[in-house]
């Protein structure tokens, strides 16, 4: 079985993508709402990813 070494960003990006797809599908009632919510979740994940990364960087000085 192959072994892969993903960076923090790559792993978090993939995690966000797969999670957003399933959350979008299971949370809303119409296809338009599902797509919008999936994109919204993905954007929130990325904002949190970059926001927390910058906070940690600034916190460390």
């Amino acid at each position: 079985m192959p072994k892969i070494n993903l960076s923090h960003f790559e792993a978090a990006f993939l995690f966000s993508l797969f999670t957003s797809v399933v959350m979008g599908i299971t949370s809303k009632k119409t296809d338009k709402e599902r797509l919008d919510y999936g994109v919204y979740c993905f954007a929130c994940f990325l904002v949190a990813l970059f926001g927390i990364a910058w906070l940690m960087r600034l916190g460390h000085g």
């Binding site: 079985m1 192959p2 072994k3 892969i4 070494n5 993903l6 923090h8 792993a11 993939l14 995690f15 797969f18 999670t19 797809v21 399933v22 959350m23 599908i25 299971t26 009632k29 119409t30």
Partner: protein, 143 residues
């Protein structure tokens, strides 16, 4: 008065028969997205299958750890082990096949292994969301 009649109407609503919602729930557990396929929601089923499968596969490729149901020295450790085990087996056939082929990874230090463990657990948790969705579709609570 109105609230009372609403409550009464809610109580008298008949429960969905077991044979309507159980097959999609069981199939949805064994094959992620399978419940949606059974209910003719093929597009959604395919997306769920792909997401859970890829999440689990990346977890394996990153050599994530599978939890085992064992009690630790304290309540928190037991909770993490049992909770992680339940989330792992929620991935259905993917977990069963990996276990059948002897996948066993010790809990090693390192961020990649740690991500892998989280990916394996999250694949199961996402499948639980999909199973609940399949149940709601079968019960007529959503389209």
């Amino acid at each position: 008065m109105a609230a009372h009649s609403q409550t009464a109407a809610h109580v008298t609503k008949p429960a969905t028969p077991l044979n309507v919602w159980l097959p999609p729930v069981i199939l949805g557990w064994v094959i992620p997205g399978g419940g949606h396929f059974l209910l003719k929601r093929t597009g959604r089923g395919a997306l769920i299958f792909a997401s859970v499968f890829l999440m689990f596969l990346f977890g394996l490729f990153m050599r994530g750890m599978m939890f085992t149901p064992q009690g630790g020295g304290d309540v928190l450790t037991s909770l993490i082990n049992y909770g992680g085990f339940i989330a792992d087996i929620a991935a259905g056939a993917f977990y069963l096949i990996a276990a059948m082929f002897g996948y066993s990874q010790p809990d090693l230090p390192g961020d990649v292994h740690d991500y892998g463990t989280k990916f394996l657990v999250t694949a199961g948790l996402l499948n639980i969301l999909a199973i609940v969705d399949a149940y709601e579709i079968a019960a007529g609570k959503k389209d």
